[in-house]
């Protein structure tokens, strides 16, 4: 098992290597003069030179690359153009709200979507199933910010049940913390839920037509046991895979959701950096988000070994 985990861990290295190289060349190969854009339209020649120096663009390209790798290896993501603060510190300051938001979304989405998908498969082609499918199709079509504004309009403006926006750290009390996360989590999770519900339904439908489900029924087992143990355990691998794939959706959605709800997380940091053309921050965020995504995929790969005894490690 440990050997399997280590092997999977090593398999992530090439992916991260490609991301690293890609991010490096994005800046160097971008059309036009990125330094000029980063420095802004009213920059003087001296300003431009300063930006170049900060980005290390005046060194020979192999030295630039060496430096980039060397710093990365030490956990150094460079320095913000505007604030001169280390990117790692800026990111560290903003991690908590984003982590809170994504984890609560993950929790809400998974704990709602899987039961819903199971029920839809069990009630295939009946009313409950149709309703779930309509929700799933709509969930794919509704952009995150529209979902967010609809939720705000109903629950914050009209019903005044929840705050319009803002984030309270958990240190300021559990309820304010949760209150601030409810609407963002639902808004962020709509598409994700639709995705999980849909794959759960499809995967369950496939499993429910298998011979071993007939065997389980021939033992007179309770429907609950047949659905939740015999079927769901077999349907788990594709569901877990999609939960992993969907993490990318969440990360992309975080940028928008945090903007709508004014949550000071990594998403806000990204948007602020883009508007100021602060490339080192964007580049650092890409590395962090890509690493997060690769890590999640790794955890999912490992979970397969627990879910399916036929997978050899």
């Amino acid at each position: 098992m440990t050997a399997y985990i280590i092997r999977r861990l090593f398999a992530t290295l090439p992916v991260m290597a490609v991301v690293t190289v890609f991010v490096f060349f994005l800046l160097r190969l971008a059309p036009g003069d990125p330094a000029a854009i980063i420095a802004g339209d009213d920059a003087t020649a001296a300003d431009l030179e300063a930006v170049r120096a900060k980005l290390g663009l005046n060194l020979p390209i192999h030295e630039q690359f060496g430096l980039w790798i060397w710093r990365l290896a030490q956990g150094d993501l460079g320095v913000s153009i505007f604030s001169d603060l280390p990117v790692t510190r800026l990111i560290a300051q903003r991690v908590e709200p984003t982590l809170a938001l994504t984890l609560s979304t993950l929790f809400v989405a998974v704990s709602l979507a899987i039961p819903v998908g199971v029920i839809a498969a069990w009630q295939a082609r009946k009313l409950a199933d149709r309703a779930v499918m309509v929700f799933a199709v709509l969930g794919f079509a509704i952009p995150g910010f529209l979902a967010a504004y609809i939720l705000i309009w109903i629950f914050a403006v009209k019903l005044q049940l929840l705050p319009v926006q803002g984030y309270r750290p958990i240190g300021q009390g559990f309820w304010p913390f949760v209150e601030g996360l409810i609407l963002p989590s639902i808004a962020l999770g709509v598409t994700y839920m639709a995705l999980i519900a849909r794959i759960t339904r499809a995967s369950m439908l496939e499993v429910l037509s298998q011979d071993y489900i007939r065997t389980a029924n021939s033992k007179g087992l309770a429907t609950k046991r047949v659905l939740l143990l015999h079927a769901l355990k077999n349907a788990a691998v594709p569901i877990v895979t999609v939960i992993g794939i969907g993490i990318a959706l969440l990360i992309s959605g975080v940028v928008i959701t945090e903007t709508v709800f004014n949550i000071p997380g990594l998403g806000r940091l990204t948007v602020d950096a883009v508007l100021k053309h602060d490339y080192p921050i964007v580049q650092g965020l890409i590395m962090v988000f890509a690493a997060a995504k690769v890590l999640v995929n790794l955890m999912i790969d490992i979970s397969y070994a627990f879910l399916d005894p036929r997978i050899r490690y």
């Binding site: 071993y212 007939r214 065997t215 389980a216 033992k219 309770a222 143990l229 015999h230 399916d308």
Partner: protein
């Protein structure tokens, strides 16, 4: 004394393209401790008959039509609630299926799959159920049962899996075991072992068996009485010796002809004899059939056979057949 009595069982599949009469009025009885064979080509409705008794037919499309009667120990199974039916499945009537490779759940251990049937129906605790599961593995001749309990189906051979299926099916001492082509998917040598095991356990436990097969060899080896099905109906029924000595229906006659005689070794042909030498194919069941369903493939068919369906008639010695031309068939068969 019959413990299971099937009367006019009809199971229809309702699909977008119409109604398929998979089983269309089948009746038979099963006595306690008896082994009854149901034979016929694939698509003749024998598996659907078995699944209908268990009420395991797909609920979205299949319906057991009103008027069908499946009486088990004095209870009408078609009228029971789903919950009551679940009490019976796996406890009083259990079933083993054709495909041991796919009939066991791949992600649950063998022990769990046997034990859950036991604690579902007997109310003993999980530890005792596991103990019972081990006993069952010993009973079906799986060596090293303690270790096997924690293994998954993919770690077992096809023959062993079918033994596990038998262990599950017999774990609550059922009165009736329905075996749907239990050996078809297995190697020839394993087939014999599994059949021997079933017969041995039947002697030991006194379970009545419905043996569904298309293999007349299996019928001859294991059963006491045989029902021959064609196109969703029973066309002939007789004690096994009587049937082989005196087949009355041209279809049965054709099936018999498909068996190699003793002087030709079936084993050298690589496979057991199959029912494939009857020309033509099973008719479609989604349109009402005029006359005798077998007529288009029958050497004996007359004008009358094509327009008027023959009734089942008693020809003595518990021998029933549905054919207008019994007399002619007999002269040829003799």
């Amino acid at each position: 004394m019959s413990i299971l009595s099937v009367r006019d069982l009809a199971t229809h599949f309702h699909t977008r393209d119409g109604v398929t009469r998979a089983v269309d009025g089948v009746s038979f009885d099963l006595a306690a401790g008896e082994t009854l064979g149901i034979v016929g080509e694939s698509g003749c409705g024998k598996s659907v008959t078995a699944l209908s008794i268990m009420r395991l037919i797909p609920p979205e499309t299949a319906r057991i039509t009103p008027g069908s009667v499946v009486e088990f120990e004095g209870r009408e199974l078609t009228r029971l609630s789903e919950e009551q039916m679940r009490e019976i499945r796996g406890k009083s009537i259990s079933m083993i299926f054709q495909e041991p490779m796919t009939s066991l759940n791949p992600v649950l251990t063998v022990g769990t799959q046997i034990a859950e049937n036991v604690w579902r129906h007997t109310g003993i605790d999980k530890r005792q159920a596991r103990e019972r599961a081990k006993e069952m593995l010993d009973l079906v001749g799986i060596a090293d049962s303690q270790r096997r309990l924690d293994e998954y189906p993919h770690q077992l051979s096809g023959g062993m899996r079918q033994r596990v299926m038998i262990a599950i099916a017999l774990s609550c001492d059922p009165r009736v075991l329905i075996a749907d082509e239990p050996t078809t998917a297995l190697d020839v040598t394993i087939q014999a072992q599994i059949l021997d095991l079933m017969l041995e356990l039947k002697e030991k436990l006194g379970t009545a068996i419905i043996m569904i097969t298309h293999d007349l060899g299996v019928v001859a080896e294991t059963t006491q009485r045989v029902v021959v099905m064609y196109a969703g109906r029973k066309v002939e029924e007789a004690p096994v010796g009587e049937l082989f000595a005196r087949p009355l229906h041209p279809y049965t006659h054709g099936l018999m002809r498909a068996i190699p005689r003793l002087d030709i070794d079936a084993e050298t042909a690589g496979r057991r004899p199959r029912l494939k030498e009857i020309p033509g194919m099973v008719p479609r069941l989604d349109k009402p059939i005029m006359g005798c369903a077998f007529a288009p493939r029958c050497d004996f068919a007359t004008e009358r056979c094509r327009v008027e369906a023959p009734p089942l008639e008693d020809h003595g010695k518990g021998h029933l057949a549905a054919c207008w031309e019994v007399a002619r068939v007999q002269t040829v068969a003799a």
